[in-house]
């Protein structure tokens, strides 16, 4: 018999306890945190009642960091140390960053790692670290508002984010000390917020134009199941580009040259953004700009001129819209609702053009800035286990095709875009030369046929293939994408069983060592130390394993023979003992043992539940057929 379990004070594992969960919208321009309080999802405000946290981080000196509105206001006077729109650099390499920005106000430095770092007064920082600062601020906001430590968080990402960008976001969550349950696609989150609000059924389109990213998703809603049919987008197109267009127009009119100071350029971007907002309500806006010689330029921008500037950008968003409809296999008329998400959809011209495209008035009743965070909070609440079961299920897709490099620099697609996740798919390859003993596996993401046109996610080598004639070896490469959209690749030579596995660390990603070092650095300022944190993590996992096994045995113990039952009981007792100690590695070992002892049992239970899922059903249908 299993020993009775007693929780540590303050760490109750009672399943009926309300777990503190939150949804975070980590945006290009602004970020938000939301939570479900007494059944209602709402965004949380800071001490001054502000919900939107500008995604701006200012580094004053090592350890002295300011996040949010104060940092945003300081941007024009301290442009080099004030980082905004960092989301655009997530999961990007140095070359990408150069290509993206053109005239970036920051000082990027090349390091040994492939991740670009920005030089600031507070030291050299990577985009992941900058994002982690934003997340930490939101974590504190949520925890002081909820009065406890968060146990589960959902962070949203643009649906069109590739593997490298997703991994970077997850790393930022880890660095901020957040228990990330899931990365959720922003349009899906928005659909959840609208879907539950309106008890909708049918096909909806979510048009999400944020500060720096654009996503379009087509979903089918059916009794609480949100099935993404197709998604497309542009991870480098957003409202910032509208501002840029206006700023460039001003520069042209005022005769300001491209090599103006960082501060002046920042100021121009602010002016442009304000102008864009004013033009949502007025027919024209008066503008002023400081000139290098101390003089001032005055002018005005009409709504019509504004439309001319942004129409090409809006047009650019309609191309992916067309593609998603096609991939979903439906026409624009079959879309029953169009949901607008992201601050940039406040621009009336965007609403008008999108309305024309889909032939219907878009929905704007939920604040487009808050809708993503609200949806994420609902999902976090469900995942944390606070909601009744069977209420909500999200089935998402891969936004981009995943493939491998083959002979001649071509890409062989293994998983096409818009495949429902999780997915696992294998492809067989063979050797090119007689006696070849190693094979390099190059993983790519993108739609194009040439390797050079796709994004490289990583390379690894499979060694130890027994020498055979060319074409005789059978190498099976398996791609698995989990519910977060993150990829794992394994390779195996079939005739001998030589295996090689990697969790794809994107070419532009941080290595585990780098993350650990950052974690260590960030914790030297905190009270907690790394060892304590690792022990804590293992203890939490041990509790989870014990809790799950106890419940499973109570429910399905009958599936086991006495002997099998004893093996599991012994493993649980050993884990229980290790859990009381302070050795995180011993706990880890005991968890692995318990996993091994119960692997078969877990598989049997899952198969049983699969069969039971349809039993009730078929009976019902059978009865209906009789009537």
């Amino acid at each position: 018999m299993a020993l009775l379990q007693i929780s540590e004070p303050g760490q109750s594992t009672n399943p009926h306890e309300h777990r503190l969960a939150a949804g975070i919208d980590l945006g290009t321009t602004n970020s938000l945190v939301a939570t479900v309080k007494s059944g209602l999802a709402e965004t949380l405000a800071d001490g001054q009642g502000r919900h939107l946290l500008p995604s701006v981080v200012r580094y004053l000196q090592p350890g002295d960091i300011v996040v949010g509105e104060t940092a945003r206001q300081a941007a024009p006077k301290d442009p080099l140390n004030t980082i905004s729109s960092v989301k655009r650099f997530m999961g990007r390499g140095v070359d990408d960053v150069k290509h993206l920005g053109g005239k970036l106000p920051y000082e990027f430095i090349q390091t040994e790692s492939s991740v670009p770092r920005i030089r600031t007064a507070g030291g050299d920082v990577s985009p992941v670290e900058v994002s982690a600062e934003i997340l930490k601020t939101l974590k504190q906001r949520a925890e002081s508002s909820l009065g406890g430590e968060l146990t589960g968080v959902v962070i949203t990402v643009p649906a069109y984010f590739d593997d490298a960008q997703r991994q970077a976001t997850k790393d930022a969550g880890k660095l901020a000390g957040l228990p990330v349950l899931r990365l959720l696609n922003e349009p899906t989150a928005a659909a959840v917020a609208y879907g539950l609000d309106q008890k909708g059924e049918g096909v909806i389109a979510v048009y999400d134009l944020g500060g720096g990213t654009f996503d379009i998703s087509i979903l089918r809603l059916h009794k609480g199941v949100f099935e993404v049919m197709a998604t497309a987008g542009d991870s480098a197109l957003g409202g910032d580009d509208f501002d840029q267009a206006i700023a460039q127009w001003i520069m042209q009119q005022a005769g300001i040259s491209d090599d103006a100071s960082h501060g002046q350029l920042r100021q121009l971007m602010h002016t442009a953004r304000d102008a864009k907002e004013v033009l949502s309500a007025q027919d024209s806006v008066d503008l002023t700009a400081e000139l290098a010689d101390g003089g001032e330029w005055k002018g005005s921008l009409s709504r019509e001129q504004f439309h001319q500037l942004v129409d090409p950008l809006i047009q650019k968003t309609l191309i992916p819209c067309r593609r998603t409809l096609r991939d979903a296999g439906i026409s624009a008329e079959q879309v029953e609702e169009v949901v607008m998400v992201g601050g940039s959809t406040r621009v009336p011209r965007v609403r008008e053009k999108v309305g024309d495209f889909f032939g219907r008035e878009p929905l704007v009743n939920i604040d487009p800035d808050k809708v993503v965070a609200v949806g994420a909070a609902i999902q976090a609440d469900v995942l944390a286990g606070n909601k009744a079961e069977d209420e909500l299920l999200l089935l998402d897709v891969t936004p981009l095709s995943l493939g491998l490099e083959t002979m001649g620099g071509l890409v062989e697609k293994v998983i096409p875009r818009n495949t429902t996740i999780p997915v696992a798919r294998a492809q067989e390859f063979t050797t090119f030369k007689d006696g070849q003993t190693a094979m390099s596996v190059h993983v790519l993401q993108g739609e194009r046929e040439l390797v050079s046109d796709c994004r490289s996610l990583g390379k690894f080598a499979l060694h130890g293939i027994p020498p055979m004639v060319a074409g005789a070896a059978r190498i099976r490469v398996t791609f698995q994408v989990d519910a977060d959209g993150l990829l794992t690749v394994t390779a195996r030579e079939e005739t001998t069983g030589v295996a090689s596995s990697i969790e794809i660390k994107p070419s532009y990603g941080l290595t585990d060592n780098e993350i650990e070092t950052m974690l260590r650095d960030s914790l030297t300022h905190a009270e907690e130390d790394v060892a304590a944190r690792m022990l804590r993590e293992q203890q939490v996992e041990a509790d989870r394993v014990l809790e799950a096994l106890t419940a499973a045995l109570a429910q399905d113990g009958g599936l086991l023979s006495n002997e099998e039952r004893t093996t599991i009981d012994v493993a649980m007792q050993n884990l229980q003992t290790a859990r009381q100690g302070n050795d995180d590695r011993a706990i880890k070992k005991a968890i692995d043992e318990a996993d091994k002892a119960s692997a078969d049992f877990a598989a049997r239970r899952m198969d049983q539940s699969i069969k039971q899922a349809l039993t009730g059903h078929t009976l019902e249908e059978f009865e209906q057929d009789l009537k």
């Binding site: 299920l393 394993v545 799950a548 996993d595 699969i610 899922a613």
Partner: protein, 181 residues
């Protein structure tokens, strides 16, 4: 019975038959995902979460196979022990190839012609009808178990692949025309 050894039809509680009740398939698919999806295991042990990812992936694969007319045909042929070698597919009948070439020529002319979208619509309707005829034949062929019927089913599946490629190319043309506006 173990879910891994069940065939896809059994997994979804459907009869082994080329004509699939699509609404029922979709409904059963959702039921199964409600049971195994990783989100149902967010607070479970790492082992259970890994297993749920695998099962959910299996169910997705099975669903996609039964949903697609081409993949379903291939799967049913494989169930009957027929093996495929993608590099060396059997020869296709010359009449069909001639027809394909004509359809392709029609498509190639469309971007340069007036009324391109109208002509494209007609071509797509034409393709749709041919696809419908091929799948209807498949329903009958799979009711029969003879070697001859299976050989013809295989040929039909192959033709459907041609049609599918053509359809995709037609959609590419449609997209190019629309984006050029």
């Amino acid at each position: 019975m173990n879910a891994a050894t069940q065939n896809y039809f059994e997994l979804f509680g459907l009869p082994v038959c080329y004509e699939v009740d699509q609404p029922k398939l979709a409904e059963h698919y959702r039921e199964l995902q409600r049971t195994v999806h990783p989100d149902k295991y967010a607070n479970a042990s790492d082992q259970d979460r890994r297993m749920s990812v695998q099962k959910a992936a299996q169910i997705n694969e099975a669903f996609q196979t039964l949903k697609s007319p081409i993949r379903r045909a291939r799967y049913m042929l494989e169930m009957r022990g027929i093996e495929f070698d993608d590099q060396r597919e059997t020869a296709i009948d010359p009449m069909f190839l001639m027809e394909q070439m004509e359809l392709r020529e029609t498509l190639a002319d469309i971007p340069h012609s007036d009324n391109g979208l109208v002509k494209l619509g007609q071509l797509q309707d034409d393709i749709q009808q041919k696809v419908k005829a091929l799948t209807n034949e498949l329903i009958e062929l799979f009711k029969n178990d003879s070697d001859d019927a299976m050989a013809r089913a295989r040929a039909n599946m192959h033709k459907l692949q041609f049609m599918d490629k053509l359809q995709q190319e037609a959609e590419n043309v449609e997209e190019d025309i629309a984006n050029a506006f």
